[in-house]
């Protein structure tokens, strides 16, 4: 097997140089990995005039685990929608894996999205499909050859621990199991970024911890994890990086932080 030598030159594999980026990058993080997400002076105004984000600068290195906190309407969901290129920034640049999402061609958008796994508070499972088919669906609709789908689905079902429930319908599962199905579906494309938008919002505390443990394991596999949450207990206990939004601005960006400011 030939050795793959990582190249250190060239713009695609080297460290991304973002010009004029304010040095707000949390100390001690810069050396950990290459920049995977970079937001630079990002603003978002919706068509109805509502301003959702104002002048947001954010750098997330590959492999990081970041909590995104803030009150409802602070801009967390908008930030996520910008990252998955569901919306375009009104001002500034959103870079994902060295690519400016605003300059992305329409037909390249799906390819970028396959690098991102995403789960939501409401799971978004198809009620008429079994756990296995829900996960396989993500591969089917992206044109994966049939013979590759089966093994890939089995693998992620094992990762999330749902192998024995593979033939059940979402309605036959508990909330936690439904969320794990959604996580399996988000993992099946081997994403490099995992976004969880309030993943524990509908779950009781014990089950929430199970889901968090799963996200930590995904992070240990080298996947960058961004989790938007209101779950103060979880955020405070884990002491990860916390980015707090309020009224469309980043009001706090701390490593090893709690849910609330601790000054």
């Amino acid at each position: 097997m030939p050795m793959v030598t990582p190249s250190t030159s060239g713009s695609t594999s080297g460290t991304l140089r973002v010009p004029n980026l304010p040095s707000r990058r949390p100390a001690g993080r810069s050396a950990d990995g290459k920049v995977f997400i970079a937001l630079q002076g990002v603003g978002k105004t919706y068509a109805n005039g509502k301003i959702a984000l104002r002048d947001v600068d954010l750098v997330i290195p590959e492999g990081d685990f970041v909590f995104l906190v803030g009150p409802s309407g602070a801009g967390k969901s908008t930030l996520i929608r910008l990252l998955i290129r569901d919306e375009k920034a009104s001002q500034g640049h959103v870079l994902l894996d060295d690519r400016d999402l605003a300059k992305l061609k329409r037909r390249d958008v799906p390819r970028i999205r396959r690098k991102i796994g995403i789960v939501f508070q409401d799971f978004k499972l198809l009620p008429t499909k079994s756990v296995r088919d829900n996960v396989a669906f993500a591969l089917e609709v992206t044109g994966t050859p049939r013979r590759q789908i089966g093994p890939a689905v089995e693998r992620v079902l094992r990762v999330v621990g749902l192998h024995d429930q593979a033939d059940q319908l979402p309605s036959e599962l508990s909330g936690g199991e439904q969320q794990r199905t959604a996580i399996a579906r988000a993992l099946v494309h081997d994403p490099r970024l995992f976004i969880a938008d309030e993943p524990t919002g509908n779950l009781d505390p014990l089950i929430s911890w199970e889901i968090i443990q799963l996200l930590l394991r995904i992070n240990e596999m080298g996947v960058t994890v961004l989790m938007a949450t209101h779950n103060a207990e979880v955020v405070t206990a884990l002491r990860k990086r916390v980015v707090a939004l309020d009224d469309g601005r980043i009001v706090r960006d701390e490593i090893g932080a709690a849910y609330h400011r601790e000054d």
């Binding site: 799906p110 970028i112 999205r113 991102i116 992206t142």
Partner: protein, 294 residues
């Protein structure tokens, strides 16, 4: 690629049956439109064929009395042939007229045969150099009261038919455009409902990185399916009414050689199929557009 087509077709098929009632409504409207379309095509084709036949071949027909003396008829024919306006004169005997009729309308042959004698008159078919000269010829023929029963001036008939054909063409096309738009609108609505019913599925497809094609083509195939089924039903209907239609057309166009069975052929079937599938595809394409990547 194969996986993509198989996937799209499978989903289109599922979607078609899942929206059973709406698909049925869209299909029924589609059939209505296609029947109108093919009716118009057949009508115009029949008229055109008639106009061509009459316009090219015969301009004046004189029906000969059964009691006419043979030598008088021969004399008339000779005089006609000497007339500078006339290019050709054909004598059609009673027997020939009967044979022609039986060949044209085999369905009515039994009826004719049941009569005690041949009801068809002999005739003189006269071709004119210039159709506007018909009055001279017609007047001469009308004067031969001992032999000539009546003179049919086909030029006048042709003029009337062209007028009728033009009205039908214009009116038909207007009606057809209106019906087409209605059908397009109904198909769009049907597919829009189908899309809305699967909005969640489409959202998931977008989130997991499905390309536009994977989202769009199942619905386009579904629209095509509505068109295809509508077209097939229409063609089946046309096939069923083919014989009565042929008879009706023969009656309508009197003794002129119009054969509807030839017209209800491949061409009409292809037009019906193409229009049905085309409108289905277009309707789907338009209604699914707004759900794709912004």
């Amino acid at each position: 690629m194969l996986a993509f087509v198989a996937f799209s077709l499978r989903r289109a098929w599922q979607g078609f049956w899942r929206n059973g009632l709406m698909s049925l409504a869209a299909m029924a409207t589609m059939v209505l439109m296609l029947v109108l379309l093919s009716g118009l095509i057949l009508m115009l084709a029949g008229l055109d064929a008639t106009i061509n036949y009459v316009g090219q071949k015969v301009q004046v027909v004189a029906y000969i009395k059964d009691t006419a003396p043979k030598n008088d008829v021969d004399r008339i024919q000779l005089v006609l042939q000497e007339m500078p306006q006339v290019t050709e004169v054909n004598y059609v005997s009673k027997e020939q007229a009967l044979a022609d009729f039986q060949q044209r309308q085999p369905g009515d042959a039994a009826l004719i045969n049941s009569l005690p004698s041949n009801p068809l008159p002999a005739s003189l078919e006269i071709n004119l150099r210039d159709p506007s000269d018909y009055l001279d010829v017609a007047n001469y023929l009308r004067a031969q009261t001992s032999s000539v029963d009546s003179v049919q001036d086909l030029k006048v008939t042709v003029g009337q038919m062209i007028a009728v054909a033009n009205v039908l063409r214009t009116g038909g096309i207007v009606v057809l455009v209106v019906v087409c738009l209605t059908v397009l609108f109904i198909i769009m609505n049907t597919i829009r409902l189908a899309v809305m019913a699967r909005a969640e599925e489409i959202e998931i497809m977008r989130l997991v990185g499905a390309s536009d094609a994977f989202i769009r083509w199942p619905f386009i195939f579904e629209g095509a399916l509505v068109g295809l089924f509508g077209a097939l039903i229409t063609i089946a209907l046309l096939w069923v009414v083919q014989t009565p239609l042929t008879n009706f057309m023969s009656d309508f166009f009197n003794v002129l050689p119009v054969q509807a069975s030839v017209l209800v052929g491949r061409d009409v079937a292809l037009i019906v199929l193409g229009t049905g599938v085309g409108i289905g595809v277009l309707g789907s394409f338009l209604s699914v557009r707004s759900y794709l990547i912004r």
